[in-house]
């Protein structure tokens, strides 16, 4: 199955796509330069976990941070790399792949991890709980927002 990783990219014939290594799609080639953190997350998860299906959602607008922030994300990763692994190990793989982002600009990361069999081909995104404003005035979050802008 063609991984649904890239958005906004000119559609390419499936036959060609399956022969192109995903490593070609490095962040600086991503057409969406206005979302560098999101791009970086996509790249790292693609390279690190070879997902069958990947969704990266910027949920920063649901939180007490300025418009256009890239601080709060939700990811859905479907990968056979998760076979036989308990939930916590699966999450640790995701955390490891996104170590850099999590230590710099990403403040919150909601993770859903499934094997291809568990996913079954349908997106079932959990809904993030409503924000309770904790990010407002939080110096740690402000540092991360600055890192994201740089």
């Amino acid at each position: 199955m063609l991984p649904t990783v890239l958005r906004g990219v000119r559609p390419i014939p499936t036959a060609l796509a399956s022969r192109r290594p995903l490593a070609r799609f490095t962040p600086h080639m991503d057409p969406d330069r206005s979302r560098p953190v999101e791009s970086s997350i996509r790249t790292k998860l693609t390279e690190g976990l070879q997902p069958d299906h990947l969704e990266v959602h910027n949920e920063s607008h649901m939180h007490a941070v300025p418009a256009g922030s890239e601080s709060h994300f939700r990811v859905l990763v479907v990968s056979s790399r998760f076979e036989g692994l308990p939930l916590i190990q699966r999450h640790r793989l995701v955390n490891e792949a996104l170590k850099e982002e999590l230590s710099s600009s990403v403040h919150a990361l909601a993770i859903q991890v499934k094997t291809p069999a568990q996913w079954g081909g349908r997106t079932t995104l959990e809904k993030s709980p409503p924000c309770m404003g904790g990010s407002r005035g939080d110096p740690t979050v402000e540092e991360k927002l600055r890192a994201g802008r740089e």
Binding site: H91, S103, S135, D138
Partner: protein, 153 residues
Amino acid sequence: MNTFLRATARCLRTGAAAQLPRRTDGSSARFLCAAADFQKDLGEMVKKDKVVVFMKGTPAQPMCGFSNAVVQILRMHGVDDYAAYNVLEDSELREGVKLFSNWPTIPQVYLSGEFVGGCDILLQMHQNGDLVEELKKLGISSALLTAEKEESK
């Protein structure tokens, strides 16, 4: 008891900070020792109670939606007696627990001294019945189990 532990952790932190002149005479070694002590304290904190949560805010007043979700899930299972540490009150705790658990985000849940995960994992455990089982192993009978038994009578 929990207040005592937190106060102790805070006292140790204050004590350590007082030993930190900015010199190259082994003060960094003392700082590392203080950090190691804090990690040791965390080791004790997570074992002290059956259910331990590091969160933003308090169970009565959570300051983050994900932390609140953990509180609500525990409440649904009738778990009201647990240790909750507010990382917003203590930046050393906030960073220390991330290092201790090797986990980048808050909230963090420990059951019987073992790190279980954050909000997503607890939610999934709640949905698939694993949380009821894990609480049972701790000698805690989930309120949801009791409610089910009542309904089936």
